[in-house]
Symmetry: C2
Subunit: 240 residues, 2 copies
DNA sequence: TCAAAAGTGTTCTGCGTACACCCATGG
DNA sequence: CCATGGGTGTACGCAGAACACTTTTGA
């Protein structure tokens, strides 16, 4: 294993949508000598970077190691560098014990966020998906990191095609609608919402409809990224 | 002097407006033993942080020490952590020589941007204001940092009251207009521009007009920050 | 036949945009 | 009296917002 850089870490705020609400991926603080520290505190997936590792690479690696997730979009969104962020003392003690050979003093963390669709397949034993409303107390400043991620997401989702990260490849208009409502915590008239989507050429209707629902089955669409970049080079606001 | 943390630095992209174009504050790379290194390379004001120093504090301190500027708004906007960013070798050699007692290996830098009005008073001997178009080659990845700062600024200035940072306390509509044109590199119809500003209650007209100009003197305004926050809590787009 | 969501159109209002002329001042 | 920018108003088109009913399916 390469040497760690004990001054800099990455933390990932992975947000998922289960067709109802927005959830964040948390993991249990690793046990020390097989014993769980008091309180079973939860944390974001994250770790110290390696000495010669690019920050983005480190974020992808960490996420994969801790959750098995890979090939998902990750975006750096903020830095948390308060000299006292490794508190309370109990949390710092835990960190020191789980990184044996390093003298941990102060760690500046680079925070990333990501969006993924939530299916049974990413509910591994290691990962806990927690609704973003009413989170429990997390380790260090992780509550604050999530809060900031949500603020940034709410701004970016209005002008970038982020919602497709939260949806399956084939999706219905209703699903898009629900994503926007869940993230922005605001409700949208479905007729007006559809009207806005109609002219968007990068929403390609498929020769396929929803199945096995006890109501009129909805048209399925896919997102065409190429068309998006072709027609939206200058576009400022995407939806709403 | 407190101990430095040789792993983390801050760099400040200070943008100024001289009523014509946007300029960025650069400083000369410090001399080594009184001898200027070859090429007289320029750099952003920035330095390593102290061991126990908050990142924002460090940015304010650094800026003050290197340029004499204080009490200006500074905002963290990105992190640059490429393991090879301290290149070319010549630049790294220079950095090592000017921070004698520290072993510099890899430095992750936290970048801040700021906006100020450009007057004779901030043109100190130490500072060089360089038009952001056609910058020379700067040290390390500083060209890239400035490019990113401009991208972010161009987005933020549309939805936040940043333009007032670039203007004197008393300003005319024309001056605001020029700021937007300079930053967004786009031209605006002056009648429509004024029309958009009319309803904004936080633009308070003063009992005072421009003086000493050889044309009809313009109304002076001030920006009322309290009114801004009162009326714009939910407002999404500010101008344009 | 019922429940549940899909899908469709019109009207009104407000905002962005295009565009031309007279006004006040200093030189 | 001239040059320079300050300051004003109107008409058009598009886009957002409000709002109700018919359709298709599974149970």
């Amino acid at each position: 294993m390469p040497a760690l850089n004990p001054h800099i870490s990455v933390d990932c705020v992975i947000l998922g949508f289960d067709s109802k609400e927005l959830k964040v991926l948390l993991i249990e603080r690793e046990h020390i000598n097989g014993v769980s520290p008091e309180g079973h505190k939860l944390k974001l997936p994250g770790s110290l970077i390696y000495k010669n590792e690019d920050l983005d690479k480190s974020a992808y690696r960490t996420l994969f190691e801790l959750t098995g997730l890979r090939d998902i979009f990750l975006k750096q969104f903020a830095v948390f560098g308060n000299p006292n962020r490794l508190s309370p003392q109990e949390d710092l003690d835990w960190l020191r014990k789980t990184t044996n050979n390093y003298q941990i003093d102060r760690v500046v963390t680079i925070a990333y966020y990501s969006l993924i669709k939530l299916t049974e397949s990413n509910r591994t034993p290691k990962t806990i998906w927690y609704p973003v409303k009413n989170l429990p107390d997390l380790i260090f400043d992780h509550n604050q990191i999530i809060k900031k991620a949500l603020e940034i997401l709410r701004n970016e989702i209005r002008s970038k095609p982020l919602c497709f990260e939260l949806l399956p490849k084939k999706f219905t208009i209703r699903q898009m609608h629900d994503v926007y409502e869940a993230i922005l915590d605001e409700s949208f008239d479905s007729r007006n919402f559809r009207k806005k989507l109609k002219p968007l050429k990068f929403l390609v209707p498929l020769q396929e409809k929803e199945k096995g629902v006890n109501h009129k089955p909805a048209q399925l669409y896919r997102f065409d990224r190429k068309l998006y970049f072709k027609y939206n080079k200058k576009r400022n606001g995407f939806i709403l």
